[in-house]
Symmetry: C2
Subunit: 279 residues, 2 copies
Amino acid sequence: MDIPQHSYLSAADALALRYGADAAPTAGPWNEHISLLLSHRSVRGYRPDALPQGTLETLIAAAQSAATSSNLQTWSVIAVTDPDKKAALAKVAANQKHIEQCPLFLVWVADISRNQRLGAAEGVTLEVMPYQETFLVAAIDAALAAQNATVAAESLGLSCVYIGALRNNPQEVARIVGLPSGAFGVFGMCVGFASPAAANEVKPRLPQDVVVHHDVYDATGEQAHRAAYDALMGTFSTRNQMAADTWTRRVIGRMGKIAAMSGRDKMVSALNAMGFELK
Amino acid sequence: MDIPQHSYLSAADALALRYGADAAPTAGPWNEHISLLLSHRSVRGYRPDALPQGTLETLIAAAQSAATSSNLQTWSVIAVTDPDKKAALAKVAANQKHIEQCPLFLVWVADISRNQRLGAAEGVTLEVMPYQETFLVAAIDAALAAQNATVAAESLGLSCVYIGALRNNPQEVARIVGLPSGAFGVFGMCVGFASPAAANEVKPRLPQDVVVHHDVYDATGEQAHRAAYDALMGTFSTRNQMAADTWTRRVIGRMGKIAAMSGRDKMVSALNAMGFELK
């Protein structure tokens, strides 16, 4: 199969890559922005080349342009370029080598410490701080910002990959990048130019019918769709020299055993120690 | 002040609107994708016009193209067009009238129920289900997907606004759209054509120096930046016929008192009842 690499595929081609030809929806309204979004791939190998001057500022401007709950802006980002710090962060994240390879590693932070400092400076107790809701808002704020940064980076010909494995040891991440209480590294992100060896295909997703519900949640037909998606992912993984794997086996492998959490089963006590009471 | 409305502003103009002329960073690499991201505004008034045929499918294709942790795809979306359901959801969300006005209201769902059904069908216990980490992954998955949908919608000339107030009463939201156990409406989103009366300016954000840290978290200079941002937001709110408000007052208003949480202080017990143990 000849995989088109250009960012601006037609709707029909982009949808066929994302869902497989048999499950692709009929193309609706379309433009090059949407082609860009559909062309996303997570990349796990980078050239050592530095980013063009001013790239970080552009990515952050995109990130800050995302919505933020009540304009509270409860997120921060640590731009890590120091090789020792990247190596230490890679160690937290199960030695993922691309963290050391990439020229820029971003630690996206759910950060209620800044607003806490504001309260302290103004002599006001901010009563909402110890709640689960406040942590959730901060994590979502960080996620919306990070996704905009991803889109901006990919539009510039750069590649990215989210690194959830920073949560394997959030307190060690906090130590490495000096986070204050009330700041939690939600995930990391590699940014850089993809190495030729890391070029990969768009990964297919579940059929739209499984994910979208109309007015009422309805799981009818889910099993048949899952079987078709398992077949699609089996072919995809074989074609990409990965271990042959269905989605069903993937989910069971990741969610079946506590051991697969790599320490994230202890996250609540870590969060509590880091200033998030989660009540 | 003459506010340019075109989506494709120059880097200098877009950055000046987002940060104020005094705090705007020097423009780095740029293109029309980035201009689009910078032009985001949350819109709270909609024309009744229906969306073009196929719009939902395009938005969902964009959403599903976002990264998802380990390809677990632990999110769903309810596309609400039924007027009675929109009215009921508006009632949960402090009667925000734009929820009823917009032609499409999306409920973004952190959804571990689908993977749970997979485990049940395969006769496997998925041990990670009761953990905070699993809820967090699902909420972040939903957020990344929703942000891609927002970018796609705005690229098509549509407008959006996130509705966090669905969390005022997550169990009532679940009842309205029929969510199973293990599915939680993280936030809503209005999608539609902005009414002329709802046209608004790009909202300025905190200076980049406050949000970005280099290798190590560093809050030096934060107070001075906050004072400058307070002045900028005071001018912005006056110019937009909003109650004059600084960022400092906004944060204290939203975070100072439990009453401002509108019921979200009870979210943990709601989540527990909805199938998220959060351990």
